[in-house]
């Protein structure tokens, strides 16, 4: 049972769930502000053909907050470590990694460290840098990110900022903690803020170079978070990438336009692995 205990540590830490009847693993990685529930419209379409692995990043969803390490998770590299931990724990090979938003870059970091584990990456709304750095267009100024942090603060203020920590310590009332988890995907405002900073203040442009794993870029229309110019930049930096413009608008096509998202994923997965 020693191995079992060990498995439980990572499984519990990242709230890992495995579904589906296929053999090839499809690892679904949620974006900032969300958890694995955001894949609910996508999962049924691939259940028959893939072994689908769902998880929450530490600090999101029902992950174990006791494993939160401020230093480790101050950069996306810490999150990439966890992706590789899950891959090792379940002994996954030929992984189809699907990352939404920030998870696209987390996937790139993980795939660069251990390319042999990955067959391809599907990136939904990727951005290696959100802040403008002329001539590079990221879409945001630093002050905009401050605005996001302020909006987050306001939304976490009532219960989380003041009551949250108290409630979370009240282990005799776990239903309260559960309720908080239901209303937002991140239960801890401080962790959410750090994740926002690690995401939106990061510059991972140079990490794109040298990625050996083929990838698909799903570019939404009218995406304010990852505008077309950013998608073009990612495509231009990844020689083995396929660029796919979507009809879907916004930043969460797997939630707003699941049918188109599924169709484009299938088409890409049906095509042979690019050399």
């Amino acid at each position: 049972m020693a191995l079992g205990d060990e498995v439980t540590d990572i499984i519990k830490r990242n709230n890992v769930h495995v579904v589906g009847n296929g053999s090839q693993p499809m690892l679904l990685a949620h974006g900032f502000g969300c958890d694995q529930n955001m894949w609910r419209f996508i999962v049924p379409a691939f259940e028959d053909d893939y072994r689908i692995v769902l998880f929450d990043y530490v600090g999101s969803g029902k992950s174990d907050l006791n494993d939160y390490d401020a230093e480790k998770y101050s950069t996306l590299g810490g999150y990439a470590d966890d992706v590789l931990d899950v891959i090792h724990e379940l002994d996954l090979h030929d992984v189809v990694f699907v990352g939404h938003s920030v998870s696209s870059m987390i996937g790139v970091l993980a795939a660069k460290r251990e390319p042999d584990r990955f067959e391809r990456l599907i990136m939904i709304g990727p951005s290696p840098r959100y802040i403008n750095d002329p001539p590079y267009v990221g879409g945001f100024e630093r002050s905009d990110i401050e605005g996001l942090l302020e909006t987050m603060e306001k939304n976490y203020i009532g219960w989380a900022n003041f009551l949250g920590p108290v409630v979370m310590q009240n282990s005799d009332r776990p239903e309260l903690a559960a309720e908080l988890t239901e209303s937002f995907c991140s239960t801890d405002p401080v962790i959410a803020r750090r994740f926002a900073e690690a995401t939106f203040l990061a510059d991972n442009r140079t990490d794109l170079a040298g990625l050996q794993v083929p990838s698909l870029i799903l570019q939404c229309s009218d995406d304010l978070i990852a505008p077309r110019a950013v998608g073009d930049f990612v495509h231009g930096s990844l020689p083995q990438s396929t660029f796919q413009q979507m009809q879907a608008t916004g930043h969460c096509p797997h939630l707003s336009h699941p049918d188109e998202t599924i169709e484009l994923m299938r088409a890409y997965l049906r095509s042979p692995v690019p050399a």
């Binding site: 909006t151 306001k154 939304n155 203020i157 937002f184 608008t249 969460c252 939630l255």
Partner: protein, 395 residues
């Protein structure tokens, strides 16, 4: 019913999953200062502040899509005049006319927002103060650790220095004994040859033997000085303190240098205004005074003078000074500091005999018996060496 929606006292807005606003009520248009045509058909995000757009995409919309509703979400909408106005949004998602729509009721929260802003500011100030405290605390801890380290280093350095000093004293003592034995043999056998024990000696041979003898004596004196100094420094010197009349000390020592003084054509005088008695080791005090007089004679040119003066210390009550004053070449201010250091010969270029230990030994001896030895001097005019001694009585 439509009329009711237009006029209810809160904003209403409905958007589709492509983000486009399908419906907006008059109340909200009025609050934001837009025409209906400016808003309907545009993305909901287009009337948000930029930070709220990100929040909408990362929190509000996913929540709506996953749970079908979102309650009390704070967002900032951007009014036509560019100002940001805070709203609380309650939204439900359902199907209408064959597609998904998201209906939002929006309440202005300007007043509440002010309190929240104050609350957030207060919390941040408290956190900053806490952080500062922690930093200060850490700094204190670091300083304490550093001080402890310095203390340890100091202790170690002192221990090393003491160790080195002990080693030096031991080395000197051993080496001096090793050297003294053969030197005594040289002296003894030279004397025997001089006396003709081994046969007749020519005049030239006698001259040579005399030089050998003088060299041997000089070396022996030097070694004795080294031995004395190391013994005194190591604290093994014993002092026999008695009441010593200073006039007697001067009377005993002065005749010993009289021959040299006379030979160099130097005058000497003694100035003792009262019969002072001090507490001292008589023999060692005589040794010190002899050393000072020998030095004074050496460095005073013909026609000069030496004065031995005994007087009350002007600086310290119950202390007596014995000055040995000369009209010699003097010592510069910077060299006065070195003059009591072992092996220092201030006038090394003068080719004067001596080990360079005389003054070092004298001062160590003085300090070993509650006295002190100091110097005042002016180059070209002369020097005054002063022994300061504790008085027994000053009648």
């Amino acid at each position: 019913m439509d009329e009711l929606i237009e006029q209810i006292p809160c904003g209403f807005l409905s958007f589709a999953d492509d983000g486009k606003i399908e419906r907006v009520n008059a109340r909200l248009l009025e609050r934001l200062g837009y025409q209906r045509s400016e808003v309907e058909g545009k993305p909901f995000e287009s009337i948000m502040n930029v930070g709220s757009r990100i929040f909408y995409q990362t929190h509000l919309f996913p929540l709506l899509a996953m749970q079908g509703r979102a309650d009390e979400i704070f967002i900032l909408l951007r009014a036509s005049d560019g100002s940001d106005i805070g709203f609380l949004v309650n939204a439900v998602r359902h199907e209408r006319n064959g597609h998904k729509v998201n209906d939002c009721a929006l309440m202005r929260v300007e007043e509440r927002r002010k309190f929240e802003d104050a609350l957030v500011r207060a919390k941040k100030a408290a956190e900053a103060a806490q952080a500062e405290l922690e930093i200060a605390n850490r700094r204190y801890e670091e300083q304490a650790v550093e001080l402890e380290l310095q203390q340890e280093e100091l202790e170690a350095a002192r221990a090393t220095a003491e160790e080195a000093n002990k080693a030096k004293s031991k080395f000197l003592a051993v080496m001096s004994h090793e050297l003294r034995t053969p030197l005594n043999a040289i002296g003894g056998y030279t004397q025997l040859i001089e006396m003709g024990v081994h046969g007749p000696v020519t005049d030239d041979q006698l001259k040579a033997l005399d030089r050998i003898s003088r060299g041997q004596k000089h070396l022996l004196r030097l070694i004795n000085d080294v031995l004395n100094l190391s013994r005194i420094e190591s604290g093994r010197e014993e002092y026999r303190i008695t009441e010593v009349p200073l006039r007697e000390v001067v009377s005993a020592v002065l005749p010993m240098v009289e021959p040299q003084v006379a030979a160099k054509g130097i005058t000497s005088r003694t100035v003792i205004d009262r019969p002072y008695v001090v507490r001292s080791d008589r023999e060692k005090l005589e040794q010190i005074v002899l050393n000072l007089l020998t030095n004074a004679t050496k460095f005073t040119p013909a026609g000069g003078g030496i004065t031995v003066r005994v007087r009350q210390d002007v600086e310290r009550e119950r202390h007596i000074c014995l000055d040995v004053e000369d009209t010699g070449i003097g010592i510069s201010a910077e060299k006065q500091r070195d003059v009591f250091e072992p092996f220092v010969q201030v006038h090394a270029d003068q080719k004067q005999e001596g080990s360079g230990l005389g003054l070092a030994i004298s001062r160590e001896l003085a300090r070993g018996m509650d006295a002190d030895l100091t110097v005042r001097s002016e180059p070209g005019k002369g020097s005054v060496f002063t022994v300061t001694l504790p008085v027994v009585s000053s009648p």
